[in-house]
Each structure stands twice: as structure tokens, then as C-alpha cells.
Amino acid sequence: MEKFIENFKNQLEDIDTDLSPDSDYVNADFWDSLTAVTIQMMIDDEYGVKIDIKQISSFKSINELYQFVQDKK
């Protein structure tokens, strides 16, 4: 999970953004469709998991997104 959050942060303009497993990233200030695409690319690159862009924006927390990626790996 720690590594996943680090990978997630690395996709953001401000890599010092405070994120935890419970972070509601979809409603965060930094979140928009373009950021969703960069997260989509990171998940594909780092975990070999294909995820629909709309699905990325459907989770309530980073933990939920992480669990989805773990299940699909």
C-alpha cells in the first residue's frame, strides 16, 4: 500500500500532496480527468492492470483503488 501511494503521488504535480489509504482522491482539489489518465497509465505501467478511466473515478478512497488493483493483478 505504501508503495502504491508513493506511485500515486508521483503522478501529481505536487508530489508532496498528503495522501493516506483513506484519502478521497476523487474529491480532492488536484483531481481531474487528465490526472485520472496519468493514474490509469501508472496502474498499467507499474501493475500491469487495465482499468477503465470512469472506474478510477468511482472509488471512495485510495484503499479501494488499491484493492481493485490487487484483485486484478
Binding site: L34, V37, Q40, I53
Partner: protein, 174 residues
């Protein structure tokens, strides 16, 4: 050259009849803060396009409208300031509520490929508003060189080889 066609996206050259669409796109509040100011006078916009068409004819500038797989026009992009060794890209604006973000990235890849392959340049330059953070972040994936900055903008140069590496990563999503 009338049309660029790739990834199910068409880019056609701007015509005077696009004046309304361009004004609507560039005047939207959520987009206007990231681009230069646009006059809302349609006739002035048409006149600007008329003058642009002369530059286009002389291959000095190329202004495109992007059309998606549903035949919906959703973005603009322009190649201009074409010099001996470098060309600039800009006027990259998409509809504010456009809900297929991957198509916006496809447009970016098509335009950059056009500059590097069809026009034959090895580098291109562009500027991004500093407060347009997700766009700054997106461009950073291609590892462009930051050559200058001021209060408002970052100014970058992107090399062809670095673009090609980044392009492959995004194409995997298509």
C-alpha cells in the same frame, strides 16, 4: 494536407465557419483562465481565421479542430511560429465537460507526431500556465526541458526522441 486521422480521431483544418465554436470554447470560464484572452466578436474571429488561412496556405501555421468517433468537435490545437529548426504548439483547448479524456490526449499525440513526422522537426516548444497543474503534470510525462518561466507560464522544449518514448506509454491505454 486537409486532415489528420489517427486513433479514431480526425483533425481538420479550421475554417471561418468554426468562429462560433472557437469563441465558445475559449470563452468558457473554466478554460479561459489558462489561455490568452479571446475577443467574443464573431466577425473579428472570422477575420482572424481569414488571415490565418493565408499563413496556412504558405505552410506557416496549422490550426485544427478535433473530431471524435461520434463526429463531435471537441477541441482545438494549433502549430505556429514555425521556424527553421523548431515549431510551437498551442491553442490546445477542449470542451469543458468533455467526458472522454483519453481523446484529449490522443489529440496531443497526433499534433506532436505531426510536428515531428510530417513537418520533420526534431524539437518543438510550448508554454503552459503554471496554475494549469494537471496539464503541467501531463506534459512532464514526456520529460520536456524547462527553458524559461515567468510569473504566469512555464516554457518548454520537447525533443522528438523523448516524445516517442512517452507516446508509447500513452498509446498502451488506447
Amino acid at each position: 494536407m486537409e486532415l489528420l486521422n489517427k486513433y479514431n480521431i480526425q483533425l481538420r483544418l479550421v475554417e471561418e465557419t468554426d468562429a462560433d465554436f472557437i469563441i465558445k470554447l475559449r470563452s468558457d470560464e473554466s478554460k479561459a483562465r489558462f489561455i490568452s484572452k479571446t475577443d467574443s466578436d464573431v466577425n473579428k474571429q472570422k477575420l482572424w481565421i481569414k488571415e490565418y488561412k493565408i499563413r496556412e496556405k504558405n505552410k506557416l501555421e496549422f490550426y485544427f479542430i478535433a473530431i471524435d468517433e461520434n463526429n463531435h468537435a471537441f477541441a482545438t490545437y494549433r502549430v505556429y511560429n514555425i521556424k527553421e529548426h523548431i515549431a510551437e504548439i498551442g491553442s490546445f483547448v477542449s470542451e469543458p465537460d468533455y467526458d472522454i479524456p483519453i481523446n484529449v490526449i490522443k489529440v496531443d499525440l497526433i499534433i506532436k507526431s505531426f510536428v515531428f513526422s510530417a513537418l520533420g522537426f526534431d524539437q518543438l516548444n510550448f508554454e503552459v500556465r503554471k496554475n494549469n497543474k494537471s496539464v503541467v503534470n501531463y506534459h512532464s510525462k514526456f520529460k520536456p526541458t524547462l527553458v524559461n518561466e515567468d510569473e504566469l507560464n512555464y516554457y518548454y522544449i520537447l525533443e522528438k526522441e523523448l516524445f516517442n518514448v512517452g507516446k508509447l506509454k500513452f498509446e498502451k491505454l488506447f
